[in-house]
């Protein structure tokens, strides 16, 4: 899994991934927080329930959909961490697609 290098990038922002505190450098994303927390999955697929973690980290694949500060379906790799942010994996929901069809 991913490890930090505090000597190169001091971790100063505390967020909570499934309730667990994680410290990250400013400018890191909520998806980075999930990877650094060592979570086995950020979401499960709606079709087969397979575990997924972020794949592209740049807003392309949508494999990082998570619940952030109580809002579901956020693209976690595009959301920078903020002090006290609460990040939780998302299970099953198909909402992102429904909302895409506004």
């Amino acid at each position: 899994m991913f490890v930090q290098r505090p000597e190169a990038r001091p971790a100063t922002v505390e967020v909570f991934v499934e309730g667990l505190p994680v410290l990250l450098p400013e400018g890191a994303s909520a998806a980075a927080a999930v990877l650094l927390a060592g979570l086995p999955a950020i979401r499960e697929t709606p079709v087969k329930g397979s575990p997924r973690l972020p794949y592209c980290m740049m807003g392309i694949c949508f494999d990082c959909l998570a619940e952030i500060d109580g809002v579901a379906n956020r693209q976690a790799c595009m959301v920078p961490v903020a002090p006290g942010m609460r990040i939780a994996p998302q299970r099953g929901a198909r909402h992102a697609r429904l909302e895409a069809e506004v």
């Binding site: 899994m1 290098r5 650094l36 973690l53 949508f62 697609r97």
Partner: protein, 462 residues
């Protein structure tokens, strides 16, 4: 409604260079970008990563200089308005109005010209097991290094090919990651084929840079296996092994890379003309020598118009900005031509090595169209290659028709990951070219939007 002469989408090398050039010609400029800070993909987080020795070299030097030049031109004095953390989700081509989302609120902005400088994405690498946790794009790992200083901790496999794999290997090794095994997927004859493409002399500076990276990677202990085929990721709940024809290795993470392709999501959604590029094996918008698209409002600069690297991106940005100034009546035509000339020279030098690189690192046919029917093609809806082939047999003639048979391309990523693979599979099955199978035509919003975010729009403009 706010109004600008030129709205630029993207603050990578292309967008930054375009903004600085346009502002210097008296054009009012808005730059919107999804990221927190300027830099784009190549120079992401360059300002905050300045103290990281693993990223020393071109990233900090050239990227830092570009970002400083951009910052210096911001605000009242410089004439550029910069809006980070802002996503373009719609363009009204007739009205000349763009819709952007910032802090979960939508805003409409009028622009006389729109320059899309939205860059590239990594080419999807659909191999068996690529959806397992622990498998990522190589670019994704680089983003973690640039934005968080983080690196993979355990044994790591970097599989695929392209200049970026060598750069990333060096950066990760400098940062203490590893051990790293590189599984190079290139074919045996590729080098000779590439030599025939020429451009080595004009492109010698880039070539030297590449050779330097290969040397440093080896010196730092990179293990390299060449001519790897039939890659697959395996594991229970996450990747634990990588297998290929004639070998296997245990690993904690697998990073995949087969080059980058233009992000044509927005240009396709706008119905602009595109063509299939046989050399780079990707779709690209049809552009004139100023970056103008098939619609009078919109231009494209940078890797979004075809892969050329950051120096080419900056040059095309400047050329498109000069064109915008001319169209807005701020420059006579001969002056525009004169001003563009040095940037055209830079562009030609930056592109000289491309045909060589494109051939050397051409993805194998199975990257475009995976041969194993069980390989997942559409990650969102978990549709595999066999299902797409079946849809082609039933009559799907392209990715747009395949939607009627499958849900491929209808998940949240709107086909950004699967569109080209679906087209390639259908083309193979029906014995037609990918160009004939066609490109997916996505719809706005370019990114999924909640009703609440939509409601943030003022009911009446102005």
């Amino acid at each position: 409604m706010r109004r600008y002469d030129l709205a630029i989408v993207g603050a990578g090398p292309a967008g930054m260079a375009a903004a600085v050039e346009a502002a210097s010609l008296g054009v009012s400029v808005l730059v919107v970008d999804e990221q927190l800070a300027p830099g784009g993909q190549v120079f992401r987080s360059v300002e905050s990563a300045a103290g990281d020795p693993a990223l020393a070299g071109e990233f900090l030097d050239a990227g830092g200089a570009l970002a400083r030049g951009f910052r210096a031109a911001l605000g009242a004095g410089g004439g550029i308005e910069y809006s980070p953390r802002t996503t373009l989700w719609h363009v009204d081509l007739e009205a000349g109005v763009i819709s952007v989302l910032r802090d979960r609120r939508s805003e409409e902005i009028a622009a006389s010209r729109v320059l899309l400088a939205t860059g590239a994405q990594e080419r999807p690498v659909p191999i068996p097991g690529w959806t397992l946790p622990g498998v990522m794009g190589a670019g994704a790992a680089q983003i973690l290094l640039k934005t968080a200083g983080a690196v993979p901790g355990g044994p790591l496999v970097l599989a695929g090919q392209g200049p970026l794999t060598w750069l990333l290997a060096v950066q990760l090794l400098r940062a203490g990651a590893g051990p790293i095994t590189m599984l190079e997927t290139g074919g045996k004859g590729a080098l000779w084929d590439a030599f025939r493409a020429g451009g080595l002399w004009t492109g010698r500076r880039l070539l030297t840079k590449g050779v330097g990276l290969v040397r440093e990677a080896r010196r730092r202990g990179l293990r390299v296996v060449r001519s790897v085929r039939d890659l697959r990721a395996e594991g229970d709940g996450r990747v634990q092994r990588v297998r290929w024809a004639g070998g296997e290795t245990a690993c904690d993470m697998l990073l995949l890379h087969e080059g980058v392709i233009p992000t044509t999501h927005v240009t396709r959604a706008l119905g602009l003309e595109h063509r299939w590029d046989e050399g780079q094996l990707c779709w690209r918008p049809v552009l004139d020598e100023w970056g103008a698209t098939s619609h009078g409002l919109v231009a494209v600069a940078g890797d979004g118009g075809g892969i050329g690297g950051w120096e080419a991106a900056a040059a095309t940005g400047r050329i498109a900005a000069i064109d915008a100034a001319w169209r807005l009546g701020r420059l006579p035509e001969d002056e525009a031509t004169r001003r563009a000339a040095p940037h055209r020279q830079t562009l030609a030098a930056a592109l000289a090595l491309r045909p060589f690189l494109d051939r050397l690192y051409a993805p194998a046919p199975e990257v475009l169209a995976p041969s194993d029917d069980a390989t997942i093609v559409c990650r969102c809806e978990e549709i595999n290659a066999g299902q797409v082939r079946h849809a082609a047999k039933l009559g799907a003639t392209g990715p747009n028709q395949a939607k009627a048979y499958l849900r491929a391309g209808m998940g949240p990523c709107q086909g950004r990951m699967c569109g080209t693979t679906v087209a390639a599979l259908i083309a193979q099955e029906r014995g037609i070219s990918i160009a004939e199978a066609g490109a997916l035509r996505p719809r706005a919003p370019f990114k999924p939007l909640t009703v609440g975010e939509m409601a943030g729009l003022p009911a009446e403009a102005e």
